[in-house]
């Protein structure tokens, strides 16, 4: 029977001294906080952002054009969101002091044994279900051996023979704004999803002739997702990673914070002649980051000791999950994770959300993608639509993805730090929809509020008398005034320089302090000018 422990107080956490280990040393030294910070900034594996994947991979695209074909397969390590480690009760918080989150087991103290964290298995199963994987009723843990100072036991516990889940698929849209390619849909097959422990971090300081090891990451729970080599280029790889991040964040199974190492992408790239079989995997590329010294060495060791001498992990019984709700024998499986139960807990996935946005609200697929990519925007959208059903979804979307993002960008604020609650944004939508204000005024209101004005949009409009001028007779007056005050422009227009029309519209805007309904202005002004041209 599999035994799982539930997360709780970390009873076995112990604090190693700040300076835990000197793997080799010439003289005594101590680690100060700066050292520690510096140390934490070192990267064990490549931390790659989708964008950088893209840049690197473009080169392969170029190659592809000259009769070579590139094939990309991704291996993604996602840190499972959990409060304690995969096999121990040590904590997992990021950024704590060096070697603060280390249990006896994590330090491979003799006699300690692994205890499987139930939460991690649930997260793995949930992710597998979201990716349409086949969850194995029984999976196994294996030891993968190699010597490295940040691997205290001399082996990593992973799932080599039978992983938690297999044969999934991830569908995603390949769409790069500004690219001449048409957006298209792509599928990448998932070979397997396995649970495994992370290793610690090493720092090799050649000058001081010393090595440091931080075991905070040792034993951190990971899901490794192995994709089939069915991508063609970096754009596809980047799009896949982005979609996966959305799914994992939606599930709550991984924070996907690359800067914390919570998501790491390795790409296997093979280049072969078109029409010929795939060559041996030629390179394991760690794209997108300059490899740290430590990593380079680790990589070399990995490369040189390719035989990992796998063997079954004897201290963990087979991991059994319950695939059907009804066990044959009642109570037999009381501790087993119920897959159907987890399936019912699956949230709406990003692809489903996008479909809902386009089908129910009539939003364009591109806008839907942007909303879904930014959870805060999506939440605003739902709030705005929920508050008043009559609101125009497209107008609301535009306010969010054009106006809101623009002003936040200008102020260098993140969406999370936005000062605009949903109801404020909704009110602006209402003002626009009822033509009380125009778009320019909407921007001014946003500007006013972001600068610290705590009034509501309507109050701002009232205070500054920003109500849109829609009265045709008033606009008539404005247009007459513009024509009278700008005889030269009018003359130029009449002589065929129609480009100056925009200047005249601008004048109208200026006179009214941008309050005029510009559509009406354009309409009236056109009529008036036509009259002057053809009296």
């Amino acid at each position: 029977m599999i035994l799982l422990y539930s997360e709780g107080k970390s009873v076995f956490t112990f604090a190693l001294p700040a300076l835990l280990i000197r793997a080799w040393t010439c003289r005594n030294f101590s680690v100060n906080n700066n050292d520690a910070k510096h140390f934490l900034s070192r990267k064990v594996k490549s931390y790659v952002s989708p964008t950088s994947t893209y840049t690197t991979e473009t080169k392969f695209k170029n190659k592809k054009q000259s009769y070579w074909k590139s094939v990309v397969g991704l291996e993604i390590h996602a840190q499972i969101t959990s409060t304690s480690k995969l096999f121990s009760q040590a904590g997992t918080e990021f950024g704590v002091p060096v070697n603060a989150n280390v249990s006896f087991f994590d330090a491979a103290i003799p006699g300690t044994l692994p205890m499987l964290n139930r939460r991690c298995v649930e997260a793995g199963v949930l992710t597998a279900l979201a990716l349409s994987c086949r969850v194995n009723p029984v999976s196994f843990f294996d030891r993968k051996h190699y010597f490295y100072s940040d691997l205290p036991a001399g082996y990593q516990i992973t799932q080599h023979r039978v992983p938690l889940a297999q044969e999934g698929v991830l569908e995603f849209h390949v769409f790069t704004p500004g690219s001449h390619h048409k957006p298209y849909s792509k599928k990448s097959c998932i070979k397997q999803l396995q649970l495994e422990q992370d290793s610690g971090k090493s720092l090799h300081d050649e000058e001081a002739c010393r090595s440091l090891v931080d075991l905070n990451r040792a034993g951190i729970p990971l899901m490794e997702l192995v994709f089939e080599p069915d991508l063609e280029d970096g754009e596809e790889a980047a799009a896949l990673v982005k979609e996966l991040m959305l799914i994992l964040q939606r599930l709550g199974t991984c924070s996907c914070k690359m800067e914390e190492g919570a998501l790491r992408v390795d790409a296997n790239v093979s280049v072969h002649h078109e029409g010929e079989p795939l060559g041996v995997r030629t390179e394991v590329k760690n794209i997108g980051s300059v490899r740290a010294v430590g990593h380079a060495i680790q990589y070399e060791i990995h490369r040189q000791v390719k035989d990992y001498r796998y063997m079954p992990e004897p201290n963990l019984p087979p991991l059994r999950v319950l695939l059907n709700d009804q066990p044959a024998v009642p109570n037999t499986y009381r501790d087993h994770i119920n897959v159907q139960c987890l399936r019912r807990k699956l949230p709406e996935l990003p692809s489903e959300t996008r479909a809902k946005l386009t089908n129910k609200y009539g939003i364009s697929p591109e806008s839907a993608a942007i909303l879904v990519n930014e959870n805060v925007l999506l939440q605003h959208f739902y709030d705005i639509m929920e508050e008043k059903k009559s609101r125009d979804p497209k107008l609301s979307t535009n306010i969010l993805i054009m106006e809101l993002l623009t002003i936040l960008n200008k102020k260098k604020l993140s969406l999370e730090a936005s000062p605009f609650p949903s109801h404020t944004l909704g009110e602006i939508v209402d003002l626009l929809q009822s033509e009380k204000i125009n778009l320019v005024t909407a921007r001014k209101i946003l500007q006013e509020i972001i600068s610290g004005n705590s009034m509501s949009p309507s109050e701002v409009v009232e205070k500054y008398e920003w109500t849109q001028i829609t009265n045709p007779s008033e606009i008539e007056k404005v247009c007459t005034a513009v024509i009278e005050q700008n005889p030269k422009l009018v003359e130029q227009f009449c002589s065929g320089k129609t480009k100056v029309f925009n200047s005249l519209v601008g004048k109208a805007a200026k006179i009214t302090e941008n309050r005029a309904n510009m559509a009406t202005v354009v309409q009236v002004l056109t009529a008036k000018l036509r009259k002057i041209q053809n009296p």
Binding site: L3, W24, P110, G111, M115, H145, D307, P317
Partner: protein
Amino acid sequence: MLSLSVRQISRKLQDGVIVPSDVCTACLYQAEKLKKLNIFVRLTKEVAEHQAKESDVRYTNGNVRSLLDGIPVAVKDNYCTRNIETTCSSRMLESFKPPYNATVVQKLQDAGAVLLGKCNMDEFAMGSGTVDSIHGPTKNIWQSGEKYTLLRNVGERATSVEQVQGCNSTHGSKMVYQELHHLSSHSNKEGSSSPSEEGDWFIAGGSSGGSAVAVASGAVFAALGSDTGGSTRNPAAYCGVVGLKPSYGLLSRHGLIPLVNSMDVPGILTRTVDDAATLLNILAGHDLLDSTTVQDSFIPLDLSQDIDISRIRIGIPKEYNCPGMSDEVMETWSGVADILERAGAEVVQVSMPHTPSSIACYSVLNQCEVASNMARYDGIEFGLRTAENRSTEELYASTRSQGFNETVRGRILAGNYFLLQRNYPHYFLQALKVRRLIAQDFTHAWSSGIDVLLTPTTLTDAPRYSQFISRDNREQCASQDYCTQPANMAGCPAVTLPIKLSKQGLPLSLQLMGQSYREDVLLAVAKWIETAVDFPRLQLET
């Protein structure tokens, strides 16, 4: 007093005849006196005295924790003991002070037991003689030159004893048993066979030799060993004590420094079967820290009711009669089978055809797991670290070559070879298949209605040191583990108990094996045999 059973001394403590501190003092004195046997790697005198004092208070206040309260025990040096060196008899862990207690050690402590010390063993439990230890070999108490008396229960109660004088005594006048005659005459110049010969002695067996001698000699009343291929039963057999290897998964391995995770079990060494049951009741049960312990709640054994032996079916597996088995062992085996049969038990011959493959299979599985388990000893997080500073790899190499003995290094090398991708299917996977066949031999026996299997524990009585070391570690283990190893393959419980003395005056023991988690049946039969054979208790002369 020191030769009493746990039950007996516990009775005396409860009756107030004696207090734990006095028992502790006596045991410490005994241990000091027997220093040349090299039983203990370390005596934990201060811990013991402190624990004994606390127990004194509990007896005074009447809040005694268990039958073990106030009773000195010892544990093998591969159990982690908080802040007490745990060396595994290896240079690698010479200065290793674990930051925690093994679960079974903690359970002993919670039961009020007094920890007298850590016992000698073969390095990382790889051996069957307790001769491959950085602390030096452990010597058997039997025929060691120490003066002792043999006590035998006459009748039903332990109150009446016949005294038989042991080694070095000049008078054998009280001896009543023919087979004990050699005991007294031992010192009478038997020429080259004399064990007290310079530099030679009878080995304690291993790898839990220290624990076995500690119990046999009266230094403690019970001890923990560990059993992977027979490491508890082998020394128990040679030292004339009861050695129980419980079912795999019944006792927690958390804090037991592993040899072969899939076969290791904590072993129990006591003077009587009842005592083994007492310790089992204290130690057994699910442990969150060991995922391989069974979750079913453990029902404590109760051996107070005599079993009806006529309802028991005893299997004699013919394959256990193997080359190298001494006539005395054969006679002992058939003798006990006859006793059982006469008493009405059904004794049948069974076949367990894969028994002879057990050792070869074991050596592959053992070495693979050893290679893996030993990978953590790299000098980084704990244990030995040499002064090598040219590179991390050089440090690993130098630490590991200096920290491990030849046997350990040899097994690591072989194990890594077996685990290479190209060899894995031919060795490890093959060995797993053979292991399944061996386990099936047992299932077949049980399904044919066998309750327990009766076999020898070892092929002979304790060998002499000189004779033992004339063979290398691999050969030693191959013959020493022959009868004990299969139970580890199958995970089933097994117990060894002393039956009689050999011509050399050494214990001859037999083994019983039972169905997994049926320690109740196993120990009930063992107790019946124990009563029937009435093996003498050894009491050192003061």
